[in-house]
């Protein structure tokens, strides 16, 4: 039984056109012009309990908007969704108790108070029993490694520590679903890794379903087995992370290690030389041509070692987004 089901979720916005200059501003005082923006366009998917799923997409792709619709913060223009058995935008009390939304770089905690006080307020808000609260808080502060920091005012903590406190606050009432919007944005690499580890641990231990949006590949690779790639409001891929390269990668990376004095100089006819250092050459070869290219090279030259890999995932994704953008611009111009 899926914990989240979305059918044809769509969200359009009307944006007013602001004009430059005094005369145009005067005119717009009486007559406003609008432009329609499609933030989310017919998005459908289903997520099972316990899954860790990523929404991957460039800025403005519609990830945050989709997440907000699933939280009930925004009404969709069209489509439906069922989350934890509720229609999110009805915002039933029981629904709001069962999930959490955490947004990167946005602070839900009271700024001047120690985190411990914010947690106490959370306890009152969610009506948690003292025993349950103390136990959960103890587990969480241990998991995130912040037991000694909870009495410091939140504004004195580092960004990474603050994010951990935010996550603790989000998990205090033991939600079944955790929604994360760019959770590691703005954090340094070490903090990012820590957060990723904590989330992974929590998911393994308690089976909480997690849905996160990000444009960092590292988040996605560290946490999620399944990825939904979103571009211009549309889902262009829904499946395991591992197969993205297969589906979208047009080329493969062939690493060749030649004999010290046998490095060929005419490799360009086989593909693109992306890296060359001494006897080691990286060659980007069109996927379909790989067997043929390998055959030709092995025939002509002495190869000490070689491997065939997918190119780095973020390159693949970046190219996918670029293509989608070009396509979108072309279609909106012709419209």
């Amino acid at each position: 039984m899926p914990i989240i089901q979305a059918h044809g979720l769509t969200k359009f916005y009307r944006v007013t056109q602001k004009k430059e200059g005094v005369f145009r501003a005067l005119r717009s005082l009486f007559h406003r012009q609008y432009k329609e923006v499609r933030a989310v366009d017919n998005v459908s998917f289903a997520i099972e309990p316990g899954e860790m799923v990523a929404f991957l997409g460039p800025n403005g792709a519609g990830k945050t908007t989709t997440l907000k619709m699933l939280s009930g913060l925004i009404y969709p223009t069209q489509g439906s969704a069922q989350v934890l058995g509720f229609t999110p935008w009805d915002r039933a009390d029981a629904f709001r108790r069962r999930f959490s939304l955490v947004m990167g770089q946005k602070n839900q905690l009271w700024w001047d108070l120690p985190a411990a006080d914010s947690f106490q307020l959370h306890r009152e808000i969610y009506s948690l029993s003292r025993a349950q609260f103390t136990r959960t808080l103890g587990e969480l502060t241990e998991l995130f490694g912040v037991s000694k920091l909870t009495d410091q005012p939140v504004r004195e903590l580092s960004l990474g520590e603050r994010m951990k406190m935010e996550l603790i606050a989000a998990l205090l009432h033991q939600p079944q679903l955790l929604l994360l919007d760019e959770p590691t944005i703005g954090l340094d690499v070490v903090a990012q890794a820590t957060i990723q580890r904590c989330l992974k641990d929590y998911n393994v231990r308690y089976g909480v379903t997690m849905l996160l949006t990000s444009h960092y590949m590292r988040d996605v690779e560290a946490l999620c087995a399944r990825v939904l790639v979103i571009s211009h409001g549309r889902v262009i891929y829904d499946g395991p992370l591992a197969r993205i390269a297969e589906q979208f990668g047009k080329s493969k990376l062939v690493k060749l290690h030649f004999e010290n004095d046998g490095v060929p100089t005419d490799l360009e006819r086989f593909g693109e030389v992306t890296h060359s250092e001494g006897p080691v050459v990286d060659l980007k070869v069109e996927r379909t041509r790989v067997p043929e290219v390998l055959g030709a090279i092995l025939e002509r030259y002495t190869v000490v070692d070689m491997s065939v890999q997918d190119p780095p995932l973020d390159q693949v994704i970046a190219r996918v987004f670029e293509e989608a953008r070009v396509q979108h611009e072309a279609s909106s111009q012709s419209a």
Partner: protein, 270 residues
Amino acid sequence: MQVLARYLRLYFALGRYGLARELSFRVNFLVKLFVEVLWLGVLLAFYKTVFGKTTNVGGWTEPEYLFFVGCYFALAGLIEALFLANCSEFAELVRTGDLDFYLLKPIDEQFLVTCRDIDWSSVANVIMGAGVMGIALYQLDWPFDLVRALVFLLMIACGSAIAYSMLLLLTSASVWFKRNQSLYELWWLFTSLMRYPREIFSGKWASPMGWFFSFVVPILLVVNVPARLMVKFLDDYVLVAFTAAVALVLLFVSRKFFRYALRSYRSASS
């Protein structure tokens, strides 16, 4: 009942932490307190100066007017202590999108938006205003009447409810008027109507205005009705009942409007 207990507990917790936070900025808190005392001083100086030159204002004699001043100060202080600061942040919450966080909690949004913090320095206003009212009653040799005092307190509650509802209506409008037209500015304009006895609205074009602000947009009832009830012994039961009814209606209407504004926010935000 359980729900009420829950909200009360939450309110106490919020109040407690709010006080701790405010006291941690001790100098700031004392200065704010001092300024409130100064402001009362200014109001009283105005009152004293005016009554040095005239015998009555709109039919209110000197001690009666003093009571009115105390009543105004306490009521305005009550609204400022409990609601004003919270409501004035609403426009910013809408602008930044941080309002979302309040929408996610399993707590009534109106409660969170309007009640979440207590401005403790304005609480002193309520106490000072009550003091001024006490002095005025003493000067009037006020005959103690328990029923009258209780109805007075009821009218204070109704007046507060009317002021709160108008504040909520203004606050909700911030969803559409996206610029941060400071709510403090609008509230200042609102209180300027509340500050004087209704009787000054007499004359050809002022009377209809007075009628409008008493019965259509009932700002003038907020301080006038409790004060008149207490010191002028105008036993206008109709007006008292009307005030109570208007308070209830406005609470209902403002809540509906607030929820409508939230719906609009949620259709538009991205």
